[in-house]
């Protein structure tokens, strides 16, 4: 691990030492730091917060937000919530899968994209919707979907 990151990691852990219910916020901040949750980081969190690694693993695998493997530079979140579903979200997902040659949940080999279906991003009025990083793309058609992804390539 790079020196700078280990220092930052330690700072996050120190900030939450002794705080009740700190595990999830710590993991969120650590993931922001590394873009996933590396093994070494989890061990450091366990030691720092005095939480057994098994419990950390339980929490990490329970919540969909946490990743144990490195993520792509851009995250594509395709909404498959109800509103998007009834307006054909599945087609968009399939289109992206074939475009990037990966399945839902996977990362491209060049680590450019991670594709994930999510349940509602709260812009149901634009269904079907996807988010690439922080940007929303709504009223998707297969063509619009392709064009949006090209912008990040």
């Amino acid at each position: 691990m790079e020196r700078e990151k280990t220092d930052k990691l330690q700072a996050v852990i120190d900030k939450y030492k002794g705080v009740k219910g700190a595990l999830i916020p710590v993991l969120q901040e650590v993931q922001d730091l590394f873009n996933y949750l590396p093994d070494e980081a989890l061990r450091a969190v366990g030691k720092g917060l005095k939480v057994p690694l098994s419990r950390i693993y339980g929490v990490v695998t329970f919540y969909t937000q946490f990743h144990l493997v490195p993520q792509g530079k851009n995250s594509i979140h395709v909404c498959t919530g109800t509103a998007c579903h009834v307006k054909g979200a599945k087609k968009m997902l399939e289109r992206i899968e074939s475009l990037l040659g990966i399945k839902d949940g996977d990362t491209t080999e060049d680590f450019k994209f991670t594709l994930k279906s999510v349940r509602c991003v709260g812009t149901c009025f634009l269904a079907p919707v996807m988010m690439i990083n922080e940007d929303y793309f709504g009223e998707l058609t297969e063509k619009k979907t392709e064009e949006a992804i090209k912008q990040y390539n």
Binding site: P25, Q28, F62, Y63, T82, C120, Y136
Partner: protein, 621 residues
């Protein structure tokens, strides 16, 4: 505006009187939605307007308000220009100069940006004339779209924190609880439990400290009411929570927000800091001696965390698994202490109730469902967006008058309410008054307010399968009926949609569903079969055609769908052949066309595009 510290009730009241930041007669206000509409480019519009106004030296006369959601999301980005009340929709950055030149300087309307009227060629200029807003009644959304959510000053000017001042200065906690009880307010998170009664339990519970929680997990996919309130008027939720804290005897609260709502978290963070600085949160609020502090907790992506005991486990830093109740959170909640948990919309209702009285609130609605309800309209409906209507209004009014009906003149099939825990309301019940009990009677629920409309092209078996896939995925795995029962139901439903349904499947689904409802640990499992049971109740024939005829009338289940052209009605116009993305349709002009089943990818474009209804859906048999 400079931040101030209010040391007394009078300080706050005096300050409010001195304010004139929203109705200065010498000013023009441009309110633009900078929350939901951001997804459609509102930021660019706002920046272009601001630059143009600056350039022309009009900054003292024209003020842009970065407002919250105005509800009419279908027309995003939207804006209202006051005091003229001009409503513009679908605005782009390129429109900014016209808006400035014509409207802001010369008081003229830019016609192309106005909403289309009911008659062809007509336009609706003023927001007060728009049918979408006509039957609405705003209590929860009273400030949404009217003020800047990041301005405490705006909130105060619109009577913000006066309910808190009234509570702390005049009302003993028991009186506050009585008022909320009398109002008839019921929980808006889906359960519909009387809020005042819940507060009374929490107040009576032994143990200290006590906690207050706001449930902002908004897990129902297809719902965005809570998001809009948090983004558009965060102080209303905070004020409600402080009043609740005072009433039950708690000095500490948490707002649990789902991770997918970054703008909500941002606005809440700002609002909490503002309230703290102003002496409205923290120690000795407004000199009353009452202390209250608030923290934000971000969810980490798990639907079940919307369930109150799971949510509490999640705040404690554990896996969000529900536990059996009793004990209820009122007795043993966060860290084993008495805890009162309410939904965002429930909290936002509190200040108006305290300020305007219980009898004012209970004059709205029906006998057992008081006040208003916010709904998120989505799916196959023209006016997708947020609406707030008095309880008791008919579904027909909401869907057709306010919601503008179904796009492309398709036939309304059902309104799905309450998401994965809810059910569907078919056309035959469109005149049903919306209240907790009527909806329950027809096998649906009020839910938290998600209303997804489906039309004739949606398959109800597929929709039921979709919800089961969702709950199966989100089941935390703690209890067997939910973990394994929903899996079996999903397998059966999947089989039916693939054309492998068996005669006994419908009965099995009903039996299994009833069992899961009766024996699951938490609300997730107890309600998971609802979408299946309710679609079987109203659309049993669809299940049967899938199973017996291997046909999906909506053309949605691809494995069962074969498109054919009817030689009697085909005119040979070639439209379908041109639309087909896979060149599966052949035929010359004015001659019969045919679809090559080996090439057809079942996209349904030919079916959609044929004006003569010559493309038909056949089953696999």
């Amino acid at each position: 505006m400079e931040q101030r510290l209010f040391k007394t009730f009078d300080d706050l009241a005096q300050y409010r009187k001195s304010l004139n930041t929203l109705n200065d007669p010498n000013k023009i206000y441009v309110r633009i939605c900078m929350t939901g509409c951001r997804a459609q480019g509102a930021t660019g519009v706002r920046d272009a307007l601001a630059a143009g106004i600056e350039e022309r030296g009009l900054k003292d006369k024209i003020e842009i308000i970065d407002a919250g959601c105005m509800g009419f999301c279908a027309k995003a980005p939207v804006m209202v220009i006051d005091p003229a009340d001009i409503f513009y929709q679908g605005v782009t950055a390129e429109d900014a100069s016209d808006i400035i030149k014509k409207t802001l300087i010369n008081n003229k309307v830019v016609n192309r940006l106005c909403l289309n009227g009911p008659k062809k060629g007509t336009k609706i200029v003023h927001s007060r004339d728009i049918p979408f807003y006509k039957d609405q009644e705003t209590i929860v959304l009273r400030n949404c779209g009217r003020i800047s959510p990041t301005s405490l000053v705006h909130y105060i000017e619109r009577d913000g924190y006066s309910a808190l001042a009234k509570t702390l200065s005049q009302m003993p906690p028991e009186v506050v609880i009585e008022e909320v009880k009398q109002s008839g307010l019921r929980g808006r998170g889906g359960g519909g439990f009387p809020t005042g009664l819940k507060w009374q339990f929490a107040r009576a519970a032994k143990g200290a400290p006590k906690y207050i929680i706001c449930n902002a997990d908004e897990g129902d996919p297809g719902a965005f009411m809570d998001r809009a309130v948090l983004e558009g008027d965060p102080h209303s939720v905070i004020e409600g929570m402080i009043i609740g804290g005072y009433a039950i005897g708690s000095n500490e609260g948490y707002i649990y927000v789902r991770a997918e709502y970054p703008i909500a978290v941002e606005h809440l963070t700002i609002a909490i800091a503002q309230a703290e600085e102003a002496g409205l949160l923290g120690e000795n609020i407004l000199g009353s001696g009452f202390d209250f502090k608030l923290k934000i907790k971000q969810g980490a992506g798990a639907f079940v965390c919307g369930e109150e005991t799971a949510l509490i486990a999640s705040i404690e830093g554990k896996q969000g698994r529900p536990r059996p109740r009793p004990p209820f959170p009122a007795q043993s909640g966060l860290w084993g202490k008495p805890t009162n948990i309410n939904n965002v919309e429930t909290w936002a209702n509190i200040p108006p109730i305290v300020l305007n009285s219980a009898s004012w609130f209970s004059s709205l609605g029906t006998e057992k469902s008081k006040g208003t309800k916010v709904f998120a309209l989505a799916g196959k409906i023209n006016n997708t967006g947020l609406v707030e209507v008095p309880m008791g209004i008919s579904l027909r009014k909401v869907i057709f008058d306010i919601g503008g009906g179904i796009p492309k003149d398709k036939k309304f099939k059902a309104a799905q309410m309450g998401g994965p825990s809810g059910g569907c309301v078919p056309a035959e019940h469109l005149d049903l008054p919306i209240d907790y009990d009527s909806l329950q009677e027809v096998g649906a629920i009020m839910g938290s307010g998600g209303m997804v409309i489906v039309d004739e092209n949606n398959c109800m078996v597929e929709l039921a399968r979709f919800f089961l896939e969702f709950t199966q995925d989100e089941s935390c795995g703690k209890c067997v009926p939910c973990r394994i029962g929903t899996k079996r139901m999903l397998e059966i439903l999947t089989r039916i949609t693939l054309g492998e349904g068996r005669d006994e499947d419908i009965d099995t689904l009903i039996k299994l569903g009833q069992m899961i409802k009766d024996s699951s640990l938490c609300g997730l499992g107890q309600t998971a079969p609802n979408p299946v049971l309710s679609t079987i109740r109203y659309f049993r024939d669809e299940y049967e055609t899938h199973i017996k005829e291997k046909r999906c009338a909506a053309g949605s289940c691809k494995e069962l769908t074969i498109y054919v052209i009817n030689p009697e009605t085909c005119t040979g116009c070639m439209v379908c052949a041109k639309r087909c993305p896979n060149a599966a349709i052949t035929g010359e002009k004015k001659r019969l066309h045919t679809i090559d089943p080996t090439k057809c990818i079942k996209c349904g474009l030919c079916f959609e595009s044929c004006k003569f209804k010559a493309v038909e859906i056949k089953g696999r048999l």
